[in-house]
């Protein structure tokens, strides 16, 4: 057969990458999640199929609580990010400033600095603040510090997609709205908000999912007294791969469901311009 180069051929490297670094690891996780290691009399280890990890997960209040805590932390982070980012993106997109990319740059700039470094710096700032009596409460406010750190970290991921979507809304729609008698509020609720929905969804996905697992923040700012699901998985992989895989798998399902709900798999045109 003669080899014919087509555009599809260009996709092969990525397909190979996907196979080795996404699909196969996924299958390994699946395998570990539904097996246990048993040691027979001769001391040799072998795997056997088991649902016990699944059962253990759902009968252990600690594990369920951790999922719930992670969900709540991620939800609060996302809501705060959205509340801060939307006005910023809106004002920025609407303004007639010539150099507004400079302001945008100021918001995105922190992303260029290593993330662990930034979290560490934030930790030092909190430490410094908590030395003064007025901020002494900061010392034990581990959940507050964790959420603060997450918001600080993920805010640019919310601003950028929102900004690009609001920028791309056809300006004549606003004119049409006011021609038809809509005031500023109506224009916002009936035109801007619905049309920026893809940006909101994209931002929410980009903030919500990582903040469920980003345990560097909870370890450094929450003094490791806040345990989120990512840390949980890490701890399990230190001693029990089977349970660790099960937790990872369940997290994967939660993530999949929330992506489905936020329309991450929606049709192409809905998310046009929303993705970075």
């Amino acid at each position: 057969m003669k080899f014919r180069f087509s555009r599809k051929t260009l996709g092969i490297p990525y397909a190979v990458f996907l196979l080795f670094f996404v699909i196969i690891p996924m299958l390994v996780i699946l395998f570990y999640a539904f097996t246990t290691t048993e040691t027979d009399a001769s001391g040799a280890e072998h795997f056997s199929f088991a649902l016990s990890n699944f059962g253990k997960f759902f009968s252990d209040p600690t594990k369920l609580s951790t999922i719930v805590y992670s969900l709540v932390i991620a939800l609060v982070t996302t809501v705060i990010c959205l509340l801060i980012a939307y006005p910023v993106a809106y004002i920025l997109a609407m303004s007639k400033l010539k150099k507004k990319f400079v302001i945008l740059m100021l918001f995105v700039l922190p992303m260029w600095i290593n993330f662990v470094l930034r979290v560490n710096a934030l930790r030092e700032i909190f430490n410094l603040l908590s030395l003064s009596p007025a901020f002494e409460w900061l010392q034990s406010a581990n959940y507050f510090k964790t959420i603060f750190g997450m918001v600080f970290d993920f805010l640019p991921f919310m601003i950028l997609p929102l900004y690009t979507t609001i920028m791309k809304i056809d300006k004549s729609l606003y004119e049409a709205s006011s021609d038809l008698g809509g005031n500023a509020l109506t224009t916002f609720t009936r035109v801007t908000l619905p049309l920026s929905m893809p940006g909101i969804m994209s931002g929410v996905t980009m903030v919500f999912l990582p903040s469920m697992t980003n345990y560097v923040v909870s370890d450094m700012l929450g003094n490791a007294k806040v345990t989120i699901i990512g840390k949980f998985i890490y701890d399990y992989f230190c001693n029990d791969w089977h349970m660790g895989s099960m937790v990872a798998l369940i997290l994967l399902i939660v993530v999949f469901l929330s992506t489905l709900l936020t329309g991450g798999f929606g049709s192409e045109e809905n998310v046009r311009g929303a993705n970075l």
Partner: protein, 549 residues
């Protein structure tokens, strides 16, 4: 023509690096490749901050090396590292030692080739935790030499993953067997007996050669918390309330060290009672150390039940679970007490002294604490790969007293090496010793060096609560420290479950149910909104005059 030129040029540009690469590989091909897997920052890597470097170079007030007119370092005379020393080192190892300090790994390669005529190349890599290292080994990564901690050595040995050292390795008559000739008798004995718990055969003397060791204890600022208070509270500092303690103390972010502390708290009465009975002569040293080792390794279900509320109370009272932030938190005043390994304690004390001019102290709980080791072990397969000889030689080279000093100085931990002629005592003396005078006390280290004359004179502060006390503790401290064993697979699972319960917040069952129901309701709502239009049941009837489409 242009095109041909371009191709020619391109090919020509590609070639030089190729030639260079093959040239390097061709002439320097090693006979043996030794893969060493060690902790991060756990070997002398040469250059600044090393013994020779610090000893021989003059530094200005800011800590920068002083340069002469031609830009070279200004060298100074030193007691420890003088001309005789350079001569002696070259004579014994065959390696010319440069005042700029060589990396120890390169020295080993030179020494091995000179001594055994075999060219070796060390491939050095590092790990962050024992568990990371264990996972690497289980996954089948091949290494020739590892440096795990005590319990991990036991675990690896129990699972049959380790190779024994050759008998010839323990032959003291071979002058190249530096390890067996220089290791401290105390360490040797501990490796043999290993706490001596009944029913557990975790002796590691045949599998492991000691590298570093130490105790655990609290580093504190004596201006805020007095030593008397600490002696009185002992392990109870973890649950002591008040401005000085609540939110001002750290625990380690791993189950073993924190469980150990909680055991100390749970069994404080028994431990104190045992100690007073030993002091009164009712029980002997051996029974005492056996009993406290048993207590500090208790992982029975009843004990776990007893310890769990204590761990929860500790969690409420501490500032953080940490592995390496404790040192800086202590130095900048965020916390008052840091539970630390002795080497880290030395580091924290050094930094506080240099940077803040602040004197921290080290306290080992009176009722008993932890004695830990890191040792060199060889995984199975070194014989087949033919790297066993080089691996053992590596351990021997690291055990040459002077190399032990270099490592100890660089890392800040205490070496397992004592030296045939107690050379390491000179090192301790050089770091902490003083001229005998009214202000100094006699500091007896004969227990470590097995030599009655192993005595140095030191400042009283050093001898009772500072760096010397942390790095080379007095015998009475060693007498109350217990080794932590590998708990066994089953107990390990129990402990890990306990840890996840302690670390995570557990909600009441009703709260979980309420939240789950709420989440389910929200999900359902979204589903209805999103897909509702497609299902007939949810479709609203069209308004008058409109048609369904």
């Amino acid at each position: 023509m242009k095109r041909i030129c371009a191709i020619f040029l391109g090919v020509a540009m590609l070639f030089p690096p190729l030639v260079l690469l093959s040239g390097c590989k061709g002439s320097e091909k090693p006979d043996v490749i030794l893969k060493v897997y060690n902790w991060e920052e756990y070997i002398d890597e040469g250059d600044e901050g090393t013994l020779i470097y610090d000893e021989l170079h003059e530094f200005d007030e800011k800590g920068k090396p002083v340069l002469d007119a031609s830009g070279n370092h200004v060298h100074i005379e030193s007691d420890l590292v003088n001309d005789d020393f350079f001569e002696w080192y070259e004579e014994t190892t065959g390696i010319p030692l440069s005042p700029e300090a060589n990396p120890l790994l390169e020295d080993f390669e030179l020494w091995y080739e000179k001594t055994y005529g075999i060219k070796v190349q060390v491939e050095y890599s590092t790990f962050g935790t024992n568990e990371d290292m264990y996972n690497e080994i289980v996954l089948g990564n091949e290494y020739d030499l590892l440096c795990p901690s005590d319990y991990m050595i036991m675990k690896l040995a129990a699972e049959g993953r380790l190779e024994k050292y050759d008998e010839s390795f323990f032959d003291e008559s071979d002058e190249n067997n530096y390890y067996i000739r220089n290791v401290s008798p105390f360490i040797r004995e501990k490796f043999e007996t290993n706490g001596g718990l009944e029913g557990k055969d975790y002796s590691w003397s045949e599998y492991a050669a000691g590298y570093m060791w130490g105790t655990t204890g609290f580093v504190y600022n004596p201006e805020i918390i007095s030593e008397e208070t600490l002696k009185e509270l002992d392990w109870e500092v973890y649950i002591e309330k008040g401005d000085k303690f609540t939110n001002k103390i750290t625990a380690k972010d791993n189950v073993r060290d924190t469980y150990f502390a909680a055991l100390g708290l749970a069994f404080l009465e028994e431990l104190t009672d045992l100690k007073s009975r030993r002091d009164a002569g009712e029980i002997d040293e051996e029974t005492y150390i056996f009993e406290i080792t048993r207590i500090f390794n208790d992982t029975s279900e009843e004990t776990i039940e007893r310890v769990e509320p204590i761990l929860n109370e500790i969690k409420k009272n501490i500032y953080s679970f940490e592995t390496d932030t404790g040192k800086s938190d202590l130095v900048n005043g965020t916390i008052n007490l840091n539970y630390a390994w002795s080497g880290d304690a030395v580091y924290a004390m050094d930094v506080a002294e240099e940077e803040n001019d602040c004197m921290f102290n080290y306290f080992v709980p009176e009722s008993g604490s932890n004695l830990w080791f890191d040792g060199w072990v060889m995984p199975k397969g070194v014989t087949e790969r033919g790297t066993k000889h080089a691996a053992q030689a590596f351990v021997n080279f690291m055990s040459m007293p002077y190399n032990a000093m270099r490592n100890s100085y660089y890392i800040g931990y205490t070496s397992a090496i004592a030296g045939e002629n107690a050379e390491m005592l000179d090192y301790a003396d050089y770091l902490y010793g003083e001229e005998e005078s009214e202000d100094t006390v006699e500091y007896n280290l004969s227990w470590f060096f097995d030599d009655e004359d192993a005595v140095i004179f030191a400042d009283e502060e050093q001898a009772t609560r500072r760096q010397l006390y942390a790095q080379y503790p007095p015998e009475e401290v060693m007498a109350r420290c217990a080794v932590m064993d590998f708990y066994g697979a089953e107990a390990n699972a129990r402990i890990n479950e306990l840890w996840s319960r302690v670390k995570a917040e557990t909600l009441d069952a009703w709260a979980i149910i309420v939240i789950c129901v709420t989440v389910a309701a929200i999900v359902l709502f979204f589903v209805v909104v999103k897909f509702g239009g497609k299902i007939d049941f949810f479709r609203r009837k069209p308004k008058k005059g409109y048609r369904k489409i």
